[in-house]
Assembly symmetry: C2
Homo-oligomer: 341 residues x 2
């Protein structure tokens, strides 16, 4: 354990007081140009590194922001973590990554810990069960922005995907190709995204004058197994769908396998449209058409919004507690084809 060099040491070496040392290194022009340079040099020579803790204690600002997500496997969360981390760093902040596994208990513990850590801000994909904690944080002066999911129980700045529109655009695309029986495998209806994607699907059907057939939709957890079972169920109908819309990314692996095990070729025998633009879809043969929910843009915006509120001109946060939606985008590749009749 070496003796770490402190501000005192450089002040002593330069024969000035600690305060001038501090001011010189801060460089706000509060000292003469000469001493400023001199201290910079001496500090460098001595290998001085400021103690973030002491600084934070005094200034009431660690430059830390909490980033809490459910996992890192889901593509949305992964890019969220990557871009938020990058954007924050560019502005001199550090990300404190926490993983909740979508478990409210862990989420609660995490939020408390982050609060103890005196993070300057929080970007969170909430479970929805800890609204009170988040509200308390925000009320205590720590901006929090929710992303990907909303916490319905409380008013917070939130950036979401435009799921209703995305799902609408996707099924609309299939309808335009002439499909009339479109199987949907989607997320659990307890989640906002699950509900919203289903509703987009229904709206498109309705608009096309097609009756909604509940037996054509399979809702389940965000897992490949869901896709497999959904795929089997949909293919075993007497009137098999001519297109599949997998509006739940994790399930795609499962339906792909389901199709393969029955030797049903895409797009010859059936059209396939997925959700989320992960690299695998583009590289696959045939390349899979997708509706891209804009994970990247969501992450960028979330970081933007939080950083905005972190800037000195502290805007009244209550007024900014609005909801942003990121537009979805249809990416056509080779997995959808006009229906043959």
């Amino acid at each position: 354990m070496q003796t770490t060099v402190t501000l005192r040491d450089v002040a002593r070496a330069a024969k000035v007081s600690v305060s001038t040392a501090s001011r010189a290194l801060a460089g706000g022009g509060l000292t003469s140009r000469a001493t400023e340079n001199r201290l910079q040099r001496i500090a460098a020579e001595l290998g001085y590194r400021p103690n973030t803790l002491a600084r934070g204690l005094k200034t009431r600002s660690t430059r830390l922001v909490g980033l809490v997500v459910h996992n890192l496997t889901n593509a949305s969360f992964r890019v969220l973590a990557e871009v938020v981390q990058r954007r924050l760093r560019a502005e001199g902040y550090q990300a404190l990554l926490c993983i909740t596994a979508d478990d409210p208990e862990q989420e609660a513990a995490t939020i408390e810990t982050l609060a103890d850590q005196r993070v300057d801000g929080l970007i969170i994909c909430p479970t929805g069960r800890n609204g009170a904690l988040l509200a308390a944080l925000e009320a205590s002066g720590t901006p929090v922005t929710c992303v990907v999911r909303r916490d319905e129980s409380v008013e917070l700045e939130t950036v979401l995907a435009a799921d209703p529109e995305g799902a609408y655009a996707g099924t609309r695309h299939l309808l335009d190709l002439g499909h009339r029986r479109i199987g949907l495998v989607v997320g659990r209806q307890e989640t906002t995204s699950g509900r919203e994607r289903l509703s987009g699907y229904r709206r498109a059907l309705e608009e096309a004058g097609i009756a909604f057939d509940p037996s054509l939709v399979h809702a389940g957890r965000y897992e490949p197994e869901t896709g497999l079972s959904g795929c089997r169920q949909l293919l075993d109908r007497d009137n098999r769908p001519t297109a599949l819309f997998v509006a739940n990314h994790e399930s795609s692996l499962g339906v792909l396998r389901g199709l393969a095990e029955r030797d049903i070729a895409v797009p010859d025998d059936i059209s396939l449209l997925c959700y989320e633009d992960v690299p695998g879809f583009a590289w696959q043969r045939p390349a899979i058409s997708v509706v891209d929910s804009g994970a990247n843009a969501m992450a960028e915006l979330a970081a933007d919004r939080l950083l905005q509120r972190l800037r000195p001109n502290a805007a009244p946060h209550v007024a900014t507690a609005r909801e942003y939606r990121i537009g979805a985008r249809l990416i056509q590749r080779q997995s959808c084809r006009p229906v043959a009749h």
Copy 2:
């Protein structure tokens, strides 16, 4: 900005000194059972939360450890991040996630920042160009353990995959199936893993008495493009290989596509063996055989080792600067088949 309640406040409310308040809440039996309970209660009532900064400043221990990886896309890094984060939290530590994009400059900046943050420890997948910084950190009393990659320029605790053995086991498997021309697409030879996997491949060939043919190996960056170009190159030989060993996970997408675009069926027309056990391989049709480099185990061990050194009974770290290897494992699925002759 609410008035956050401090230890002073609870002390005042309880009519004791700040020191007893501190001791009571610490709960080491340094105060009477009665006051201990009383203070716990009062603290809870007031909603007291300790200030981690002040505590850290005094005790010289934030309970933070830095976790720096190249990205979150690569499966090894992803599971690394997930399990390290989990393990740390279980022991009361928080992970500070940093992403370097494999760029030495960013890595250097990151390490400095983490040092300023006074992290208690560091788990890093090094680029290899900042050994001095890492050594300095370790010398200053902050344990650092390297993982996935080694920094050759300095002696640090390191946990790695058993790449030579993994690659050996993989090509050995293909040899056992009767393959004699085995194409290899592998990582850049500037990286340890790239070199080690190639050497494992060569050793297996040598052992089987087969001459090493450089034109059968394609080394490139960790990207799908590498796989695609490698695949094309290998298939365009007059004497096309009967098996492909893709010892570089990212490239797999590319070779899969390369095979598909030439209508070469796996395993009927060619055998395929990949590296790293990502879910996609298991769900694919045919399911892809892989050699699993044990990312999970690596992450667990790295966390273990660091936590071990973080415990009070500070072992002399120099003595523990050893290298651990995680065994690789061959997982046979349906993508390899005996060669027909």
